[in-house]
Amino acid sequence: MIEMQHIRKTYRVMRRSAGFKEACRQLFRREHDEIRALDDVSFAIGDGEIVSYMGPNGAGKSSTIKILSGILTPDSGHCVIDGLVPWKDRMKHVARIGVVFGQRSQLWWDIPVIDSFELLRDIYRVDQRRYEQNLDELTALLQLEELLRTPTRQLSLGQRMRCEIAASLIHNPRILFLDEPTIGLDAVSKLAVRDFVKKQNREHGTTVILTTHDMQDIAALAERVILIGRGRILLDGTLDDICREGGSGDLEQAAAGLYRKLDIA
């Protein structure tokens, strides 16, 4: 059970205009703007749900994921996940979740993938039998066999992403956060990732929270969609709601229409 109530987070961003004169001026006077990344965000997600978190670039999706995964501390508001406050009980909380950041890598660059997996096994204190069980299952589902003994640096993006997802599930997390997991993947890899996520949710009851710009991801995975723009929750419903509000049967069109209509693009 995830509960977020009135979460706010602001960042200080340095600003300056173009040009040499401005660059010199800012040596003496810096201008900062406060950016409201999250502005009174509240929602609740039950166990075993798959939720897509959508919104244009800079809407606050990643900030939300980072708060939920205990990395960022919000300025104000309450958040309780399975009885724990993520940023206060960080160590306990993160032991129960799995996170994949599509644009980053958690695997060690210069060593075979299997070594990274074994390190994760020790970090999460997974016992050997369960580790082997999970590894067998993940290897079969994500076709990792030949990849495991290859150093990360020599994997293609699609291969690496499959390994990243496997890495985040080695300890049977109850909640899985996927931050743009299909970014840059080809059609086959995308389908494999979607199928796998669905299966994981169905068979292990893993709660999945997913951010993506790919409407097909959302269509394939999520019954529930939360739309965020300029740090506020603007819609919490289903894909049908998105299509109706966006005024189009085509998902891309509907999303674009909705962004324009809500003036968040």
């Binding site: 960042y11 990643s62 980072k66 995964s69 205990g70 990395i71 960022l72 501390t73 940023w87 960080r90 160590m91 306990k92 993160v94 032991a95 979740i97 996170v99 950041f101 644009q103 980053r104 890598s105 958690q106 060690w108 210069d110 060593i111 070594d115 990274s116 074994e118 390190l119 020790d122 970090i123 999460y124 204190r125």
Partner: protein, 267 residues
């Protein structure tokens, strides 16, 4: 504890796989040591009485310094740790059930130890074959050798806890480059990396010996060559322990603070 051991193991194994780097490093250290000894020979030839350490002791100092360089060298800071803070990959480290400070500490220890292991053995095998007084000689006694190992271990820990500060401070700066360069040269000079601390003027030397930098390099190298009295050695060991506790405890607290206030760069 086991998770930190695993970090240690993975990083250690990773360090051992860079063979060419090891050979290059070893050669550099050997030639560098030889050159440094030749420079000192020129000075000693002028007036041997003008120096606080005998020429043999200085040669020993230099060889050990080259062999164990990875124990205390400032430029061997882990670039991956800086990179992950600068580009935001630290996000992944933060969503693991580990203490960041302890994790990086074991990681730094492993990367330094793997380097030392690959480099010190060949140098310690060749240096004794270099003719006297340019080579390395056996320590005065077995007891002395044990004290050397103890002070070397302590200087290793003091060094790692000092450099941990640079990682932690990187959380607060845009780029770690300035900090790295500055700390690199300051530490090198003040720890007796350029010239041994006894060569400094008396008053400066006394002051430098109290600073943590002396605990990082100067102590074990001088203990080996027997250029310290037992009283001085004892005081130096206590000082090493003092700096280890202070640097590590304060660094760990600072790191916890930094993690709470972290903003991740690069989205």
């Amino acid at each position: 504890m086991k998770k930190y051991l695993s970090f240690f193991r993975v990083r250690f194994a990773m360090g051992l796989q860079y063979r060419t780097a090891a050979i290059a490093g070893m050669t550099t250290q050997f030639v560098w040591g030889l050159m440094e000894i030749l420079v000192f020979r020129a000075f000693y030839a002028d007036n041997p009485a003008a120096f606080p350490m005998t020429f043999e002791a200085t040669a020993n100092y230099i060889w050990l310094q080259q062999a164990f360089l990875a124990v205390f060298a400032a430029w061997l800071i882990e670039p991956e740790i800086f990179d992950c803070i600068v580009d935001g990959n630290v996000a992944y480290e933060l969503c693991r059930p580990v203490n960041i400070y302890d994790m990086w500490f074991s990681r730094s220890m492993a990367s330094r130890l793997s380097r030392v292991l690959l480099r010190c053995i060949p140098i310690l095998m060749i240096a004794p074959l270099v003719p006297k007084p340019y080579g390395i000689s056996l320590p005065p006694s077995a007891g002395q050798f044990l004290v050397f190992l103890l002070t070397l271990a302590l200087s290793f820990l003091v060094s790692v806890s000092f450099y941990m500060w640079i990682y932690v401070l990187t959380f607060y700066t845009v780029s770690p480059l300035g900090l790295r360069l500055m700390v690199g040269s300051v530490v090198e000079f003040l720890s007796g990396g350029g010239i041994p601390l006894p060569f400094f003027p008396e008053k400066v030397r006394r002051f430098l010996e109290i600073l943590p930098f002396a605990s990082m390099q100067n102590v074990p190298l001088r203990v080996y060559s027997g250029s310290m009295t037992p009283g001085e050695t004892q005081r130096a060991i206590l000082l090493q322990i003092f700096w280890l506790v202070v640097l590590a405890a304060a660094g760990r607290a600072m790191c916890a603070r930094a993690v709470r206030h972290v903003t991740l760069q690069g989205g």
